[in-house]
Symmetry: D3
Subunit: 280 residues, 6 copies
Amino acid sequence: MATSSYKYFLVDTPAPFVAHVQINRPKKINAFFEEMWLELKTIFDTLSISPDIRAVILSGVGDRGFTAGLDVQAASQEGVLAQQAGVDDAARKAVAIRRHVQEFQDCIGSIEKCAKPVICVLHGVALGLAIDIATCADIRLCTSNISFAVKEVDIGLAADIGTLSRLPKIVGSTSWVKDVCLTARIFGAEEALRVGFVSHVLENKNAALGRAMEMAKLLAEKSPIAVQGTKELLNHSRDHAVAESLKYTGLWNSAAIQTSDVERAMLSGLKKTKPRFEKL
Amino acid sequence: MATSSYKYFLVDTPAPFVAHVQINRPKKINAFFEEMWLELKTIFDTLSISPDIRAVILSGVGDRGFTAGLDVQAASQEGVLAQQAGVDDAARKAVAIRRHVQEFQDCIGSIEKCAKPVICVLHGVALGLAIDIATCADIRLCTSNISFAVKEVDIGLAADIGTLSRLPKIVGSTSWVKDVCLTARIFGAEEALRVGFVSHVLENKNAALGRAMEMAKLLAEKSPIAVQGTKELLNHSRDHAVAESLKYTGLWNSAAIQTSDVERAMLSGLKKTKPRFEKL
Amino acid sequence: MATSSYKYFLVDTPAPFVAHVQINRPKKINAFFEEMWLELKTIFDTLSISPDIRAVILSGVGDRGFTAGLDVQAASQEGVLAQQAGVDDAARKAVAIRRHVQEFQDCIGSIEKCAKPVICVLHGVALGLAIDIATCADIRLCTSNISFAVKEVDIGLAADIGTLSRLPKIVGSTSWVKDVCLTARIFGAEEALRVGFVSHVLENKNAALGRAMEMAKLLAEKSPIAVQGTKELLNHSRDHAVAESLKYTGLWNSAAIQTSDVERAMLSGLKKTKPRFEKL
Amino acid sequence: MATSSYKYFLVDTPAPFVAHVQINRPKKINAFFEEMWLELKTIFDTLSISPDIRAVILSGVGDRGFTAGLDVQAASQEGVLAQQAGVDDAARKAVAIRRHVQEFQDCIGSIEKCAKPVICVLHGVALGLAIDIATCADIRLCTSNISFAVKEVDIGLAADIGTLSRLPKIVGSTSWVKDVCLTARIFGAEEALRVGFVSHVLENKNAALGRAMEMAKLLAEKSPIAVQGTKELLNHSRDHAVAESLKYTGLWNSAAIQTSDVERAMLSGLKKTKPRFEKL
Amino acid sequence: MATSSYKYFLVDTPAPFVAHVQINRPKKINAFFEEMWLELKTIFDTLSISPDIRAVILSGVGDRGFTAGLDVQAASQEGVLAQQAGVDDAARKAVAIRRHVQEFQDCIGSIEKCAKPVICVLHGVALGLAIDIATCADIRLCTSNISFAVKEVDIGLAADIGTLSRLPKIVGSTSWVKDVCLTARIFGAEEALRVGFVSHVLENKNAALGRAMEMAKLLAEKSPIAVQGTKELLNHSRDHAVAESLKYTGLWNSAAIQTSDVERAMLSGLKKTKPRFEKL
Amino acid sequence: MATSSYKYFLVDTPAPFVAHVQINRPKKINAFFEEMWLELKTIFDTLSISPDIRAVILSGVGDRGFTAGLDVQAASQEGVLAQQAGVDDAARKAVAIRRHVQEFQDCIGSIEKCAKPVICVLHGVALGLAIDIATCADIRLCTSNISFAVKEVDIGLAADIGTLSRLPKIVGSTSWVKDVCLTARIFGAEEALRVGFVSHVLENKNAALGRAMEMAKLLAEKSPIAVQGTKELLNHSRDHAVAESLKYTGLWNSAAIQTSDVERAMLSGLKKTKPRFEKL
C-alpha cells in the first residue's frame, strides 16, 4: 500500500508491512466531524484485509495533540440533533439518534475489528473521542506531556462511542475509571501508566513514534497467522467466560496450527535466521 | 432533603445536591446487625430517586473506623442460624438461609443500585462487611491509617454479601484478590492504592472527607442526566460484552441526548459560566 | 498423602494438609511433553479430592527455572502434528488437532479446577507453557531473577493452552497484556509485580518457597469449607455477571453456613486458640 | 392462610396448602390500574414465603373474562405519562417512564418469582396485560371460549410488561409469536393449545377451575422441597446454557437431597400410603 | 419507493408502506450466487431505513419454487474455494473462507436486521439457502406443495449461513430439527405447520401472496413505532435471559412511549377511525 | 468395532459405521446403578472417537421397557447418601453430594458429547433417568405403548441428572414441561409426539428399531465431516445467542469446508453414485 490520498488522514507505509495512519486536521487539533469517522472506517477496513500490512500505528498530525475529540461546533450544525430540529416526536427522534450513534460506534470500532494489531501513539491534547479511539487500539503509548480526559459529562452527555464500554475492561481500577469518567478531570502520563491505560510513556512525540515503529516492525516480522490469531483470541477472551474462550481457541487453532509458518518459525529459531512468511 | 432522623445512620445535606450518609454506631465501631442493613436500604432507595440529591458520600461515625463488619454476637442471637435452631432438616434450613442471604445482599446492593454516584470514605477499621459495602460504592477513598481485611474465612465462611462477586472486578490483580480473600490478612492504604482498590489515600479522616466533599460538589454541579447515565453505563459494562454494552449505550442515549442539558452545558462552556440543570 | 512416586513430578507433604508438587525434569529446564501433562492432571485431580490436603504449592525442580515450556523437539516427533503427517484432508486434521488441544487444555486446567488453593512459585526461566500453568494457579509468587515470556507467537502460534483466555482476566492492563502476548518479549519480576501478575517478589527460590510455605500453612489451618468455598466463588465471579454470582453465592452458602466450622472458628477466635476442623 | 381481605383480589384456601387468587374487578372485566398491580405483588410475595401454601391458582372473577388488560382510561389519568404532563425534557421524562415500567414489570414478575407453582386459569376476555400475567405463571389452562390477544401494538406500544420477553420462550413457534404480537389479532383455545401456550383446554370456567384444583391438590401433596426445587430449576434453565444449569442443579441438590422428604416419599411409595411433609 | 430496477430482484410497492421483494432468476429456480446475496443486502438495508416502507413481503419469481438454494456450479467456479485454488497453506485458506462465510452470513442476516417486519412466502422448491433465508424472516407462510430441505449435509457441509443457528430457536422440537438437518430429507407443508416452522399453509402461491398482502397491509396501518419496537424486542428476547430483556424493554419504551402515536391510536380506537401515523 | 463385552450393555455394529448400544439389565427393567452409568460413559467416549462409527442407536433390552430409571434400592445401599451416613456436618455432606451429582451428570452427558449422532429408541417403561438419558440423544423415536414420566418429585427430589436443564430446550411448550415435571404424571406416545419430545412414533419396538436403523444407515453414508459438524453446531446454537453461533459456525467451517468430502459428495450427486468418505 503506497501512500494514499485520504482527505482527513495521512496513510503511508514507513516500513515493510507497517502502516502509519495519522489524523490530519492539525489546525483544529484533529477534532472530528462525521465525514472524518466515515473515512476512518474505510481506512481500517482496508488495512484489515490488506495482505501488505501486518501492523498499524495510529497517531495525530501536529504538535498540539492526538485529537481534541468531537468538533462540537460542526456537530451542532450538521449532526443528528441538528437534522432532527424539525421533528417533534421524541420517539422518532430517538430512532434517528440511535441509528446515528450506532453508525458512529461502528466507525470507531473498525480500529478494534481490524485484524492487524494497532498501536496508538497519544500526545498532547487527547480528550473525549480521543479516549474512545484509544480504547479500540491494542497497545497504547503516550508522551509525558499528555492531557487525557473523558470529557463528555461536561457537555451533558454520557460518553457513547465506546469509552464507557471499553475503559473498565482495559484497566484494573474501577474506582479510578469512575473517578475520571464522572469528574471529567484531566489526567496525565504518570497516572495513565500507573493504572495501566498506557503501557509505556515516552518523553516526546518523536520518541513515542520511534518506540511504536520498533514495536510495529517487530510484529510485522512475525508470523501473521500467529499475530492475528493472538489479537483475535485476546479480544474474544475479554467478552467471554474462560471455558468458552478455551473452546473457541481450540477451534481457531485446529486450522491455524496447520500453517507452514510453524515449521518456518521453528527452523529459523534453530538457524538463528529471520523467517519469511507468506502473505495473509 | 433536610437532616433525617434514622436510627443507625446520620443523613444530612452538607452542600446543595450532596447527601452525606454516616454509619452511626461508634461504640461498636459501627458493627452491623439486621435492622441496620434494612435501614441502609431504605436510605439508599430514597436517595436514588430524590430529585434533591445528585451525589452521595458514605462514611462511618467516630475515630475508630468505618465499620468492624458484622456484629457477630448479634448475628448469633437473632440471625437466621439462631432462628433455625429448632429445624432439623438440612434442606429446609438451606431454604431459609438462602432467603436471608439474598435479602442481606439486596440491602447492601442498594448502594450500587442507587442512581447517584456514591463516594465511600474509609478510615481506621474496615473489616468483613466493610469490604462488601465499599465494593458497592463507585469511588473509594481511604485514610493512611486504614486496616482493611476480607475477614470472613476466619469465621468459617466464604464471604457472601458481595465481596467475592465484586472485588475481582474492581481491581486488576487476581493473584492479590485471592491472597487477601484466602488469607484474611490485614492490608493497608499503600497496598489498596497500588492494586486500585481505592483511588486516593488521604492523611486522615478529615482530609478524606474534605476530598470526598470536593468531588461530590463537583459531580453535583454537572448535568444529572450525564452523571447518572455515566454511572449506569459503567455498571452495565462490567457485566456485559462490549458489543452488548455499545448497543445498550446507543439505546440509552437515544433519549438522554434529547435533554436540554446538552445545550445548557455547551453554552456555559462558551460563556465560562456555571450551568444550572433542572431537577431529575 | 505420603511422598508419592510420580514419574515427572515430586509430590510430598512438607506440613500437615500442605502438598508440594514439583515439576521434575531439571535437565531440560522442566520442559513438558504429553506424558507429563497427563500426569499433572492425575496429580491435581487426586489432590482436589484428598481429605488430607488443604493447600498446594507448585514449583519447578532445579536452579534454572520453573519450566522452559513445551519441549518443542518432543512435540514435533510425537505430537498431534507428527501423528497427522500422513493425513491429507485439512478438515480431518483439524478434528484431530482440536481434540488434542482440548485434552491438553483440560490437563493444565486441572490446576484451576483443583478444589484446594494452589500457590505457584516461579523462578528463573518461565516461558510459554509456564504462563499457561501459572495463570491456572490462585496466587503467584516469583523470584527477582525471573524471565517470563508468552513465547508462542515466536513459533508461529497463538498460545492455545490458556494464556490468551486467562491472562487478560488476572491482570489489569490490557495494553500490557497485548504488548507481551504480541511481541513475545521477556519481562521480569518488577514488571510482573507492577501489573499484578504476581502478588509478591522474593529474592531467590528459597525465599519464595519459604513464603509460599507460610501462606500454605496459614490456609491449611483455616476451615476447609471456608477456604474451598472462597476459591470456588472467586473463580465463579470471573466468568459471571455480579447478579449471577450473588445468586450462586447465596445458594452455595445455604449449605456451607450449616457447617460446625463456623462455631468452632468463632469459639477459637474468642478463646484465642487454634481451631481444628474435620476432614473434607 | 384464611380468606384474606385484599381490595382488588379474593384470596382463599380452598384445600390444604392450596391458595386461590382471583382478580376481583368484574365490572371492568378485571382491568388493571396501578394500585391493583401493587397489591398483586404483595399477595404473591406473601404466598411465596407462606409455609401453609404449596400451590397457587390464579383466575379472574366473573363470567366475562380473566382480564381485559390495562385500564387505559385510568392509565391516562393517573399513570406515569399523565404525571409527566408538565415536564418538557424528553430525557427526564424517559427516566420517569423507565422507573415506572420497571416497577410495573416487578409487580407482575412476582408471579414468576413466587416459590410455589402457579396455575393460571384463563377464560373469556384475556387481552394485553392478561398475556403478560399468564406468561409468568407455570401452567396455563384455558376455556374453549377464550379470546386471547397481544393487544399493545393497537395502542401504539410495544408490549413492555413481559410478553415480548417471555412468550417466545414458552411456546415453540416464533413465526406464530411474531404473527400474534405484530398483528394484535385475537386467537382462541384451539390455536393456544396447538402452539403450546396452554397445556389443557376445558369446556368452561368451572371445568377449568376444577382441573386446576385437581392439579393444585396433587402438587400440594408432594414434597415441597421437590416441587419448589423443580420450579426454580426449570426457570433457571430457561435463562442459562445447559452446562450452567447442570452446575446450578448440582449445587441446589447438594442441600436439597439431604431432606428427610426423600426417605418419607420412598417409604410411602413402598407402603402405598400418602406421605406427609414438614412445613417449608 | 417506486418499482426499483435491481438486477436479480424485483422490488415494488403494491400497497402504501408495503414493499414486495421477489427473487428473480426463475430459469435457475432462483438459485443464488455471490452477486445476488450482495444485492439482497443492499435491498434490505435500504428498506430498513426507508420512511415509506412499514412491512416487507419476500417471495420468489416463477412457478417452480422460492429458491433451489446455492447455485453450486457458480459457487465452484467463482466462490472462495475456487479463488483459494492456488493457496497451499490450510491456515491461510481458513482465514479467507472465514471472511467469505461471515460476509455471506451478513448479507442474508440483513433480512433479520431490517427494522420492518418481513413476511416470507415460500412455494415449490425451497432447499438449502432457502431455509437460511426463511429463518431470517419474521413470519413464514407456505403453499401446500412446498418441498423444504436442509440440504447441506448432502454436499459435505454443515449449513453455515444461519440455519443451524436459527432453526432450533424458531421451532419447538429439537428432535425434529436434528432429524431434518442430519438426514437432509424433504419435508412438506403439513409437517412445517405442525412443528411451527410456518404459521400458515395456503393452497397455492397466489393464495399465499394474498394472505401475506393482507398481513402486510394490516401491519402497515399500525404505528410504526409500535411495530418496529415489537420486532426488535422479540428478536432481543431470543438471545437474552428474561431479566435482561425486561431491562432492555424498559429502556426502549422510555423513549418510545413518548410518541404521539399512543394518543392517536387510542383516539382512533374510541372514534372507530383509522389512525394515521407520521413517517419513521 | 466388533461386538464388545461390556457388563451391563450390549454393543454391536449391525451395519457399517452404525453402533447399537443396548441397556442390558432386563430383569430389573434396565434400572441403573452407579457401575452402569460409569460403563455408559466409557462406551460413549469410545464411540465418540472411533473412526469406524458414524451413527449410534441407543435402546433397552427386553420387552418391558427402555429403563425404569434409577434403581432406588441400590442407590439407598451404595449411593452417596448411604456413604455419608456417618457424616454429621451438612456442609461436608453437601460437598460429597455435589461431587457425586456432577459425576453422574457427566456420565449421562457423555451421550450428548459423543461426536456422532445418537438415535434413542424408547419403548414400554421409560421413567425418571430414562428422560435424562433421552434428552441427551439427538433424535428420539418411541413406540405407541410408551409410558414416560419425569418421576423424581415423587421420591422427594428435583430431577438433577439433566431433565430439568434440557427438557425445556428440546420441546416447545413450557406449560407442558412444567405440568409433567411438577406432577410426575405418566404421558404417552401421542402427547410426546404432539409436543415434539419424540419425532416419530412407531407401533412396536421392532418397528422403532427398524426405523432407527434406516436413519442410522442413512447418516452413516453421509460425509462424517458434515454430519458431525451439524451435530456440534446445533448443540452450540442451543446454548448461545445467534450472533455468537454464526461466528462459531464461520470458524468451524473455515477448516471443515477444506475437506475433500465436498467434492466427493458433489461428484456423486452429479453421477448418481454413492460417495465414499475417508475415515474420521
